[in-house]
Symmetry: C2
Subunit: 209 residues, 2 copies
């Protein structure tokens, strides 16, 4: 936005500084943890001025949030939409297994966990996060489930937000509250149980485990 009024070289320099700051924030969050992460240390590592950081971001939580957005943008294989092969169960397992891998990767998981906690403490950051990441992601999930509903693979009366909660909530909870190991088996069981329900004998694909 603001770069439009600047000369191309200045815009390039700003973008390079921005990336250096975000990379430094990610690296340091992984090395020292979020609690001991400081704007001063980020500035030193990035070779930038503290004032530059304070001018661009209101808090260290905001720096980390942008750093995580940069990380996910950097993945070229990041899907713009959830997979739709026509097999809902298989597609959901693919997505949840990818989430398991991501949450087991400390470079992503530790800053993300710090951010999740910071969001609970900072309403402004929470609103920004909801608008820029959480709500768009939830809409992608709802969209895939809506297509499944239209195809007759999801009950016509199913509340799509509750469906998102049932499918993605258990993984998020287990990760954030460290309630147990995050495995592909857990992801698969959540998908099967949410689709088939807890009642007995509701689906031929419900196997005894």
């Amino acid at each position: 936005m603001t770069t439009q009024r600047k000369a191309p070289d200045a815009a390039r320099r700003n973008e390079a500084a921005r990336r250096a700051i975000l990379t430094a924030a990610l690296d340091l969050a992984g090395e020292v943890g979020y609690a001991r992460l400081s704007i001063e240390a980020i500035a030193t590592r990035a070779g930038a001025g503290k004032q530059t950081i304070y001018r661009w971001w209101p808090s260290k939580g905001a720096v980390l949030f942008d750093a995580l957005l940069m990380l996910s943008e950097g993945q070229d294989d990041q899907p713009a939409d959830l997979p739709d092969t026509g097999d809902l169960e298989a597609d959901l397992k693919t997505v949840l297994r990818a989430t398991v891998d991501e949450l087991n990767d400390p470079r992503y998981s530790e800053p993300m966990r710090a951010l999740a906690i910071e969001i609970l403490l900072d309403p402004a950051l929470a609103a920004d996060f909801a608008e820029r990441l959480d709500e768009p992601m939830r809409e992608l999930k709802r969209r895939r489930l809506r297509r499944a509903q239209q195809a007759g693979d999801l009950g016509p009366g199913v509340d799509l937000d509750v469906a998102v909660d049932l499918l993605w909530g258990p993984l998020k909870n287990r990760w954030l509250h460290r309630e147990g190991p995050l495995t592909t088996e857990f992801a698969d069981t959540v998908v099967e149980t949410a689709l088939n329900g807890l009642r007995p004998g509701q689906s031929s694909s419900s196997t005894s485990r």
Copy 2:
């Protein structure tokens, strides 16, 4: 434990001081919020010495945790077991509706939220919480579901821990992350959707909504 070696009067005085400190912690957490809660303010409000508090509890999070345990012990109608009328769906709705009421009560909800966040930051408090509150509660839930499984109301292959996650997780998430209003309607929908599953036409009690 330690009171056994003390004279009865001293034990009674200790118990009175303990209750005054926990009540002061609850009241102050509600009034000023957890972030601005201090051991000093708790001591002043309770008419106790700061050293007494530091001797009995390692952190303000630990004080608040005991205060919340005292609050739930004080409810005489607190069930030792989850209801079992033989109607699993009705029983689960009863339990989740009671949780909705509890989480909408600021006297309970605000300190509990502060504690939930503190637990994410403090592994020792997390371990204490898991042992004294979270795991016993989860066992009560598993026990009710195990009886339902034995009665044939729950699929024989259902993983009871995943079932607990599907039934109780959405409410906890929506509350902790302030994702939406906590209503009895939401609680009912979660119970129905988890029991019936997301697939179409799996149960006669699945109504279009």
